[in-house]
Point group: C2
């Protein structure tokens, strides 16, 4: 049997506002879920502030460690938006104005006061980069090598991801099947371990909840083999039923 390649990605989330707690990040969950559908596993995330050395180190580490490296944040027009400069530095290339991005911005601002220096900053890319089409808003993402530069605002990043959907080489999507039960995880730890060991290529995660005064857990069976995931989930549900725990609809 040939071992299939597992495609992997890292993500660098850039922004002082995430580290200070002012802004609740939503891009980790969004990018992670999108990557799963592309058959790519998000293996690591680093959140760093708006300082060039921190961005350079994180991007250089993750782009070498994984097949793909994504970044979010720091690509607006203001002085604290230094992602493009930092990634150019990481690749050792200069920053240039991308002619197609400039044209997009000229069109957009034609009826909105014209292109000024701040706005033109949004057409700056590391030399050799290409744009990632954004079918949802005008702002394009940027690709250089295996690095994909996305916006900080989650809805804009969603547009950029939509533009990339289906274009990256990946493996089989990871499938999750959730089994919910009124079973406190501390009582069924051994049962879970046994069921997980009974099948190769399956991982079971356990996520406790307390709802309407009753304790329970969602058990998430993950595999690249959908039939296998469903089979193991059925076995788990059966074993939990035999042990006297009633089922709850999966999902918290």
């Amino acid at each position: 049997m040939v071992q299939e390649k597992i495609w992997t990605a890292g993500l660098v989330v850039i922004g002082d506002e995430i580290l200070s707690g002012r802004t609740q990040d939503k891009n980790i969950a969004q990018v992670g879920a999108w990557l799963n559908v592309q058959g790519i596993r998000l293996k690591e995330v680093r959140v760093v502030g708006d300082t060039e050395p921190a961005i350079v180190e994180a991007v250089n580490t993750l782009r070498q460690a994984y097949d793909y490296c994504f970044t979010t944040g720091g690509i607006g027009p203001t002085h604290d938006d230094i992602t493009v400069d930092a990634i150019a530095a990481a690749f050792g290339v200069p920053v240039v104005i991308h002619s197609e991005a400039r044209r997009l911005l000229e069109d957009y601002y034609a009826t909105r006061g014209g292109l000024n220096e701040g706005r033109l900053a949004m057409a700056r890319v590391p030399e050799g980069a290409e744009l990632i089409e954004n079918p949802i808003s005008k702002a394009p993402g940027i690709r250089i090598g295996n690095v994909f530069i996305m916006a900080g605002i989650p809805s804009v990043t969603a547009g950029m991801l939509a533009g990339l959907t289906g274009t990256l080489e990946g493996g089989r999507p990871l499938v999750s099947v959730t089994v919910g039960a009124h079973a406190p995880e501390s009582e069924v730890a051994e049962l879970l371990r046994e069921v997980e060991r009974s099948a190769a290529g399956v991982a079971i995660g356990s996520y406790p909840f307390s709802k309407e005064g009753r304790f329970g857990s969602n058990f998430v069976v993950r595999s690249e083999d959908e039939a296998l995931a469903r089979r193991v989930a059925s076995t788990l549900a059966e074993r939990l039923g035999e042990a006297g725990y009633d089922a709850v609809d999966g999902g918290i």
Copy 2:
């Protein structure tokens, strides 16, 4: 003038469910905001999956790079909860049962079916660790050296942080003052840069929004010197007013 020490921290968020996008992390924002109040700056976050080598590397890197290292996630009773073992490995010490933690669990489960193997797993700590009191729920956190091991469930972590409040050495809290205006950030990039440069020890972040069809931005002035932050925020508000932008209440 003596340069004040800036106290720093790193955070390791542990869990496949965060990377897969199944669970929206809330601990980065929570820990970051809490640290600010303690006068400690969150400098970097790493999100890693439930695998020992990834946890060991992230914890060893961040505990050496910063004054404090926090972790969240992976301290429950099931097979995928490997944080305690990984951190023991990071420190090169064995895992032991903490007698006080065992007593807490015995008391709690006395009327709930007693302590079983799965439940006792929650009393396991790296040798030499101490417990972090949790005034809100029974689950204690764990401290070893400069590493603070917290829960994955945000409300439980909140309790552990409450138990730590005021106990860590830190500097002056970072103060933020927000100035909101109907000013698209692309038009005022130069103005912001000037105001930021006019005062040392102040950073201005810019966060665009679109509300009820109008574009605007929140400009956040951050400093350890509250009077200075307020002074610079007033200057900024004045400059924006002079440039013809009307004010909006700060905060998105």
